[in-house]
Symmetry: C2
Subunit: 325 residues, 2 copies
């Protein structure tokens, strides 16, 4: 079995790839290395050797928003036992609000191109990393998979556009599709995100931590180890057709203030935390969300860590990473 | 007030433009003339003169999936009192299922490009023709604006992608957005659609009418005169922010068999109707839908014609059109 992972040199992919290697699967990682890192790929190659997985870990550097690069990256693959994990996307949400072309290209056209190639190759199984951002701002309402989708950022919009294109493809030529609506995900190797930002800020100035917004934004967080567990749990059900799952803990989430304090306590306990104004970090930021995950628990998976647990564990891990330990 | 209408030489636009001229508004019609017709534009110019509307009817031939053509079409417009009616889209749904690039370009990129230009121009009011196809196949469930959106055609997917991009733009730079989710719309001038197809078939062979599918597909139909009435009703509320409305009659709809019989009875009463198999005309065809339109009736508008009335009236009108009377 060959697993193709787009965004294959990124944070989530690294964790997914390790688990797939543990199962003895073969991997093709595709990444444009804009945020992904070659060292993660190298670490995966080493890991495969360590655990005695004799299958190959292939890597192709390609920007799949470019059809020619995508075709080239897939040109050597002439087999049918393929599952595609489509994880690549723009991960700088404010950048996409400023300039809509960022998410058009890096979040939507990558999906559109991939679908065309899957059709041409006859590959019928797709797993897609979508996001809570497809829902937009529902205030204090819990989000179920049936909740109205009204994204307020171009990132959320182009993830929803991707879902829509995938849904139509599932009618026409795909057989099995799982759409995972990720919450905020934390863990290592960290390449971006609020915890890493806070650690970097405190490393520059250990006396004060400046926070965008007033710190009251409140969101659900999941540790990457649990995310991967849930994704593989759903995949292993081997459902036919099109399936959408919220993945996350079922709690009210944690505030940015909580996260800032957790980082401060760990990295620089005497630092002062200075908040901005407003409850949005940027235009298109959703100030609050929490999931209902009944659909996922009905098939037997629930998160063991709360949002608070996930944050604490990740602060520890990311601090260690940044200290080069 | 300048109304810019994309797809301005099409069927719905023709009817909308007439009503806007009746109100004394100025028009800029933009169309690539792939299905729209210059004779409709000419008829509108004549109509403006007839009713003594001294405002201009401007026309620009442009394919707005091409940024340069869109920019050129708008280059002479240097004013702020502008509302945009974005009605252009691919209207050949099966073609878009065969080749996803059709709806990417003609249904989604037109929207994406238009939003970028509206941002650049500082125009803040947008009315958008979306579709029941964004919902996908919900079986016998009534569709409300809150229903799950899982389009099963690329047309529906790229309309949903357009809605998503517009929703995000409304967070960032638009002030007033109305999204109209059209049902099937009938009337004249007819350029495509099931009634016109049936009339053409009976003109070729008056003894038999071949119907795609088994004729049990059952959908809500609205006469174009009522559609325009509803669109202007919503627009005149002058709501701030983002608003989505199902527009249609609140009935169970009519079957393709009903439509075939209505055309047969009018055009060639002795013809035999030959049905195909299956309840879908093509992949991505939704076999059945009916709307809940409570949201629209709560602001004071309801359809006077049933789906059956709308079909009867349109069969009469389109037959007259095709007889050149």
């Amino acid at each position: 079995m060959l697993n193709i992972i787009t965004g294959g040199a990124g944070f989530v992919s690294f964790n997914l790839a390790k688990c797939l290697l543990d199962r003895g699967d073969e991997l093709l990682l595709i990444d444009n290395l804009s945020r992904g890192r070659l060292e993660y790929v190298e670490a995966l190659v080493d890991y495969a050797r360590t655990i005695g997985n004799s299958q190959k870990v292939l890597f192709e550097k390609a920007d799949i928003s470019d059809v020619a690069q995508l075709k080239f990256a897939l040109s050597s693959i002439d087999r049918d036992d393929v599952e595609v994990w489509h994880l690549c996307a723009n991960s700088d949400i404010p950048a996409g609000v400023e300039d809509a072309s960022v998410d058009l290209r890096d979040t939507f056209l990558v999906t559109y191109n991939l679908l065309n190639e899957m059709k041409a190759k006859g590959w019928k199984k797709l797993h897609f990393s979508s996001t809570s951002a497809v829902y937009g701002d529902h205030g204090v309402e819990y989000l179920t998979e049936e909740s109205r989708t009204e994204p307020i950022s171009n990132y959320g919009a182009m993830k929803l556009a991707s879902e829509a294109a995938i849904r139509a493809a599932c009618e026409a030529f795909l057989d099995q599709v799982n759409v995972f609506r990720f919450p905020n995900v934390v863990g290592v190797p960290a390449t971006h995100g609020v915890i890493l930002d806070f650690i970097h800020k405190l490393k520059k100035d250990s006396t004060v931590l400046h926070v965008l917004g007033n710190g009251t934004q409140c969101k659900a967080y999941l540790h990457v180890s649990e995310l991967i567990e849930a994704m593989l749990w759903i995949r292993d059900k081997d459902f036919k057709g099109y399936h959408v799952y919220n993945i996350g803990p079922e709690d009210l989430g944690v505030t940015v203030k909580n996260i800032a304090e957790a980082v401060r306590d760990y990295v620089s306990p005497s630092a002062h935390i200075a908040f901005g104004s407003g409850n949005r970090g940027w235009v298109g930021d959703v100030p609050r969300f929490s999931y209902k995950v009944d659909k996922l628990s009905q098939i037997g998976w629930t998160a063991k860590y709360s949002s608070t647990d996930a944050i604490r564990r990740a602060v520890n891990e990311i601090s260690t990473q940044e200290n080069g330990q």
